[in-house]
């Protein structure tokens, strides 16, 4: 179980910090908490969610990307995107994007949500991932600030979630454990330890707040303003700890689904992916968290099972296809299976209603890879699609395929959609050109 204030981090501009403090009042809230935030207007009560998925072997680019000449809304679906035809207006496909300076091939997957440069070079230090940055700001609004999931991951070696201090957050790879965590609760000892940690955190902040008020006597106006800010920071953190602690006193949500049975064999990769999508959907439906990452460690996967197809080679080996038609055919069947599973996820999210919207409208799903082409290990022209969450979708956004457009810009869109008033993330240069929020949503 995560202690929410253990999330640590790097660069946020002064403006962000300032605004970050204020944004607390403008965030989506659960009914139970609404009285404490009576000032929050109705508009901002809409819960927003984020699901970031990285398949670290990517997909065959020729079959994934639509024709670059067809930018905008009038584009022909690519062979892979045909599987997502029903959701054409719920998603945007990016063509010509990359994480600037995130090179080095395979190791770049751990930077998919951090965009920290040069993961293979000396002196590399990862930075905070998008989900942790979000969790740090709105995590107290749900039982879990974030969930970090994985399929076939080498434990402790790969993850999409990183703390501010550059520490890996291990992936949970057993669906049954996630189910347990969400709906059955941790062991009494765990629950108690967490409650005590939060209670102590509150007491620490309370003590610090008293000290701050003492200092404020007898100082000039400019100094007092700084100390006031200090006091506010302390009290804000204390309030959030109180809210987080409240969760353990509330009953867990009840769901009709039964606990899943974990596939044990790494070959059952696709079944694992399907179950992970299912767990994510359940977590969102029950508002247990608003923030999930999923690392699909295809590099670490053997010859996987694909329904109705024969796959003879290891997934990683297939990705180095060298244009061998047999390998390409197998790889294509894997890629298509991925698209079908995504269609399943989007469909399930779209079926569920929350207020006057579908769950998909309130869930930003980012699907992509750190590799533009696994055959050559390039980390440019990344295959990325972005679905749901209340954006004007239905587009094929084409950027410069020679000099790529920065993908971290999309992360700024995500933050802003959450209501977090950030204007940059990692190497972003702004928000994604051509991608707009759907204001009616």
């Amino acid at each position: 179980m995560k202690d929410f204030y253990m999330s640590n981090s790097k660069p946020i501009s002064r403006r962000e910090v300032l605004k970050g403090a204020g944004v607390l009042l403008g965030l989506p809230l659960l009914d139970a908490m609404a009285p404490a935030f009576a000032r929050a207007d109705q508009q901002s009560l809409v819960p927003r969610r984020f699901f970031g998925i990285c398949n670290n072997l990517g997909v065959l680019p020729d079959k994934f990307f639509p024709n670059p000449a067809q930018a905008g809304r009038e584009y022909t679906l690519s062979p892979y995107l045909e599987h997502l035809r029903d959701f054409k207006n719920d998603l945007t496909v990016f063509n010509g994007v990359t994480h600037p300076d995130v090179d080095g091939g395979h190791p770049a997957d751990i930077c998919f949500l951090t965009a920290a440069p040069h993961p293979s070079s000396g002196g590399f230090h990862n930075s905070i991932s998008l989900d942790q940055y979000v969790g740090e700001r709105i995590g107290h609004l749900t039982r879990f600030p974030s969930l970090t999931l994985g399929v076939n991951v080498t434990k402790g070696a790969r993850s999409l979630s990183w703390t501010a201090g550059g520490v890996l957050i291990p992936c949970e790879d057993r669906p049954s454990e996630i189910f347990k965590l969400l709906f059955l609760g941790g062991s009494p000892a765990e629950v108690q330890a967490q409650a005590r940690r939060l209670a102590m955190g509150q007491s620490i902040m309370d003590t610090v707040a008293d000290q701050t008020s003492k200092l404020k006597r007898n100082v000039g106006a400019r100094d007092r303003e700084r100390l006031d800010q200090y006091a506010t920071g302390v009290r804000d953190l204390e309030k959030r700890m109180v809210q987080s602690a409240e969760w353990e006193k509330k009953p867990r949500p009840v769901v009709t689904e039964k606990a899943p049975v974990d596939p044990m064999d790494p070959k059952e990769y696709m079944e694992k992916v399907r179950l992970m999508y299912d767990m994510a959907r359940l977590a969102f439906e029950t508002d247990s968290t608003r923030n999930i990452t999923l690392m699909l460690d295809s590099v670490n996967s053997p010859a996987i099972q694909v329904e109705g197809k024969a796959v003879s080679d290891g997934y990683h080996n297939l990705s180095h296809h060298g244009r061998d038609p047999k390998k390409l055919a197998q790889l294509e069947s894997i890629d298509r299976e991925h698209m079908k599973l995504l269609a399943g996820l989007f469909g399930a999210l779209k079926t569920h209603k929350e207020g006057n919207e579908t769950l998909l409208d309130r869930t930003m799903v980012l699907y992509g890879s750190n590799l533009g082409n696994a055959n050559t290990h390039v980390t440019t022209n990344l295959p990325v699609m972005f679905a749901g969450g209340g954006f004007k979708h239905g587009q094929h956004l084409v950027y410069d395929r020679e000099r790529n457009y920065p993908l971290p810009n999309l992360f700024v869109n995500v933050l802003q959609r959450f209501g977090i008033e950030a204007d940059r993330f990692a190497s972003s240069t702004g928000t994604m050109r051509g991608l707009e929020m759907d204001r009616s949503a």
């Binding site: 981090s9 660069p11 002064r14 300076d101 091939g105 080996n317």
Partner: protein, 877 residues
């Protein structure tokens, strides 16, 4: 006149209070940003306007009147309102333009020098009076928290744990006046607080003893032939069949064929210690995915100090065949021909790499030694940094010759450690004194207290006396004692309750903020100001003792302490942090050299690291030797190693260590402007811009702020297809009068640096992509060069005062005609850094006094620091 007016209009409209950029020609233009916003009319008396109205009527009103209000300025009923921050800023600007002789314009009647001086004095008086009044009431600086450098250093010193790394756990600090030392920008939010709490708890837990008995200090050798990582890479597999990406089993200076072909054992092991010493594993490429061999058997058992000794030698790998000579053969190995730099990295899974240091491998097995701080769980990764990094497709080693290529053979790593002066460490003792320890599971202990209440008070008193940088009272301890008791009551162990209380201390404003009261600083505040200046950390026991004795304010005491702090090795924290912000050295690696235009720099970590080391060593040399400030612009020496010597074309420098090297007469190098780090930080990896570099020189070296471009004006994008030079593009830009008024000042110094590419390499021609006669060669990534030499560089220029220069050497000479300006800028940067407040209008005279005091020493860098420490600017809030 018209041009100047237009420019000032746009500056006025955009609300920029920057001074004139004409300062390049008129170096006396230095200005103070008024402490705007700080002035509260409620608290101040109305100031008397003592304006020389006759002067205004005679020299200003012809243009700046009610009808024409040239430049948006109407002086017909002018009045100085010092309490109004806008009026204050306007008059500072006006003052400076008259001072610099820009106004009245050259074409108009000029006042006598005496009239000018009198007018200026009359303008200055109320402005200075206003600032001094604010200073008396509130101080120049604002109450501030520590920045993340300071917080990390302070915890390292407090807990005696130099290995702690918590800077990255804290949010990046806000900047004001370029530095992370100014209260108004060092904000606090709940995010900041939660990070402090997490960092404090992390540090306290790490510092506590991890076992009941002292961990033994051991000495162990890790042979490469016994490391899974090295051995695994010797075997080809489905993902690698290429020798450049594999390790080479080597014995002496020959290929170890049985080991390579797995017909013999990988090592003779301890049975044959003599032969074992000659075994090794070679590489011909620099560590990079997928070739990242490491000493995987070693993982630091606890955080602490370790001595590392690495044994390696260089070898020569023969070609696979005469046809494919650039491919090495693992079967054809001979004696080395080169000396090779090796960097050691501490690596933490999956991919965190921290550089520890560099050593050199000679042609015979060489043992390189270093003492380092390691975190628990870190292992060691060696890297032959001069070598290439194979990137697909089909790489070609740029160092390969027809008869082979250089390699490095690693033999073993010896680790001595953890080296412990005492156990438990001083940090543990500060927390738990001599309390008995008992095990609380693997890697965890608890302190046992038979008198929890008594121990809590006693230990907290000791901890707080040390952590809080001024005397504490019994009542200061009480809230923390209560907190610890509350924690115990809630079911925490004694140990947990103490960590809770200590965490609170480390989040409290008494620890996190630097307390200063208006007026002259008391001894404790002075001790902190000095130590946070020169060590970027808390005062040590000596400073604390002097403060206790009230001795710091005695004549000479502070100077003696400043001297001691500068001489101490901890002073590198000052120069590192100061350079990180003054010169943006922290951003050196923010952009990478373009893969296609600069493949010779791309992926060259050794170059990046060396370039940062150079600038640090250079500043340290100026500081230690009290060398004149003019060295910042031009010095007759550089501080370089082999990699930089290659970049700069300086012969006779081998080895990875940075050392002082005298320059030949008339060298283009020397000084900051021509250092690789500076030239890289002012470029974007693909192209250079004279505008950016020119502005950088104005702002960082000459202290002349450059106003930002007007909104809506796109930057000039250099053309990398070789059609037009940046200079030609800028010439067009500069024909527009509104642009020209600023760019004639900004661009010229940047032109002189056009001879330096994106990493500071010399160039006579620009590189371009596209059609052209390609340069032969291969990049650090093993890919063929795809660029060609395009247009010639024109490094000449003319400053606004008409003085011309041919190239960077000429520019440096011109800049040094006013070395006081270079020193003035350094002094101003240092005052801002050390006091946390910018140079205000009223402070200008004090800076001049600092310069006067150091003039005889040629404005020596250390002399300036001493003069600052002695000044009222430093000794008062």
């Amino acid at each position: 006149m018209k041009l100047v007016n237009q420019s000032s209009t746009h500056r006025l409209r955009t609300g920029i209070v920057a001074g004139s950029v004409a300062g390049l020609a008129l170096a006396s233009a230095y200005l103070g940003a008024p402490t705007a916003g700080a002035i509260s009319p409620r608290q101040t008396k109305p100031a008397h306007s003592t304006l020389d109205r006759g002067f205004i009527a005679k020299y200003c009103l012809a243009c700046h009147n009610a009808t024409s209000a040239s430049g948006g300025l109407n002086l017909s009923n002018a009045e100085i309102k010092p309490t109004d921050s806008k009026s204050f800023a306007l008059w500072v600007k006006l003052h400076d333009r008259v001072l610099n002789g820009e106004m009245p314009p050259k074409s108009a009647a000029q006042p006598t020098p005496a009239a000018r001086t009198n007018f200026l004095a009359n303008v200055s008086r109320p402005l200075i009076a206003q600032e001094e009044e604010t200073g008396r009431r509130e101080g120049r600086s604002v109450w501030r928290r520590m920045n993340r450098y300071e917080y990390e250093n302070t915890l390292c010193d407090l807990l005696d744990a130099p290995w702690l790394q918590i800077k990255e756990m804290l949010p990046e600090d806000g900047l004001a006046y370029r530095f992370n030392k100014v209260g108004s920008a060092l904000d606090i939010s709940y995010v900041q607080m939660s990070r402090y709490l997490a960092a404090a708890q992390f540090a306290l837990n790490e510092v506590m003893a991890k076992q009941v008995t002292q961990p033994p200090t051991t000495t162990r050798r890790y042979y490469t032939r016994e490391q899974r990582s090295f051995v695994g890479l010797a075997k080809f597999n489905e993902f690698n069949g290429s020798p450049e990406r594999a390790t080479f089993p080597i014995i002496g200076n020959e290929a170890d064929i049985p080991a390579l072909e797995e017909t013999g054992p990988m090592t003779v092991g301890s049975k044959d210690p003599v032969k074992r010493e000659t075994e090794g594993m070679g590489v011909v490429a620099s560590a990079y995915e997928p070739l990242q061999p490491k000493f995987n058997q070693f993982r630091a058992p606890v955080a602490g100090r370790y001595k590392l000794r690495i044994c390696a030698h260089s070898f020569w790998a023969g070609p696979e065949s005469p046809q494919r000579w650039w491919h090495p053969s693992r079967k054809v190995v001979s004696a080395g021909r080169t000396e090779e730099p090796i960097s050691l990295y501490a690596s933490f899974p999956p991919q965190r790499l921290r550089k520890l240091g560099s050593v050199d491998a000679g042609k015979e097995p060489t043992v390189g030694e270093m003492e380092v701080d390691l975190l628990k769980g870190e292992s060691i990764e060696p890297d032959a940094v001069r070598f290439f990094r194979s990137r697909p497709p089909g790489w070609h080693n740029p160092l390969a010759q027809k008869d082979g290529q250089p390699g490095v053979c690693f033999h073993w790593l010896e680790v001595v450690g953890p080296i412990q002066e005492s156990w438990p460490g001083r940090g543990h003792k500060l927390m738990f004194g001599d309390l008995a320890l008992k095990s609380a599971g693997v890697g965890k202990v608890e302190a046992v207290s038979t008198d929890p209440d008594g121990d809590t008070t006693r230990l907290l008193r000791g901890f707080m006396q040390r952590a809080i940088r001024r005397p504490i009272l019994a009542t200061d301890i009480d809230p923390y004692v209560k907190l610890a008791r509350k924690s115990r009551d809630a079911g925490s162990t004694f140990t947990e309750s103490m960590i809770t209380a200590y965490s609170a201390v480390l989040c409290s404003p008494g620890f996190v903020t630097l307390e200063e009261k208006p007026g002259p600083l008391d001894d404790y505040a002075l001790a902190s100001r000095l130590s946070y200046f020169l060590w970027n950390s808390e005062p040590d026991a000596t400073l604390r003792k002097l403060a206790d004795q009230g001795a710091l304010r005695k004549p000479g005491a502070l100077a003696a302490q400043a001297e001691r702090l500068i001489a101490d090795k901890r002073s590198h924290r000052f120069s590192d942090a100061f350079l990180d912000y003054w010169l943006d050295l922290r951003k050196t690696d923010n952009t990478s050299p373009d893969e296609e235009l600069y493949p010779d720099y791309y992926l060259d970590d050794y170059l990046v690291e060396s370039s940062i080391d150079e600038t640090r060593a250079f500043f340290a040399e100026l500081l230690r030797g009290d060398l004149p400030s003019r060295n910042l612009v031009a010095s007759d020496f550089v501080t370089i190693n082999d990699r930089l010597a290659t970049l700069y074309g300086i012969p006779g420098v081998s080895g990875s260590g940075i050392r002082r090297v005298e320059l030949p007469k008339d060298s283009v190098r020397g000084g900051l402007l021509t250092q690789a780090s500076v030239l890289k930080v002012t470029a974007n990896g693909t192209t250079t811009s004279p505008v950016i570099r020119g502005a950088w020189i104005c702002e960082r070296i000459l202290g002349q702020p450059v106003p930002p471009p007007p909104p809506g004006v796109a930057a000039v994008e250099p053309d990398i297809r070789g059609a037009a030079t940046i200079r030609e593009q800028l010439a067009k830009h500069r024909t527009q009068p509104t642009c020209a008024s600023c760019h004639t000042h900004i661009d010229p110094p940047g032109f002189a640096l056009e001879n330096f590419d994106v990493f500071g390499g010399w160039r006579d021609k620009y590189r371009a992509l596209g059609k052209g006669p390609k340069v032969a060669g291969f990049g650090k990534n093993g890919q063929p060069f795809d660029f060609y030499p395009a247009q010639n560089v024109d490094p000449s220029g003319e400053l606004t005062n008409g003085r011309k220069f041919e190239d960077v050497r000429g520019l440096k000479r011109l800049l040094l005609q006013d070395e006081r300006q270079v020193a003035r800028n350094l002094a101003r940067q240092l005052v801002t850094y050390s006091t946390g407040a910018p140079i205000s209008f009223a402070d200008r005279a004090k800076v001049e006094a600092i310069l006067d005091r150091t003039k005889a020493k040629g404005y020596g860098v250390k002399s300036i620091i001493h003069a600052i420490v002695e000044s009222d600017l430093f000794r008062s809030k």
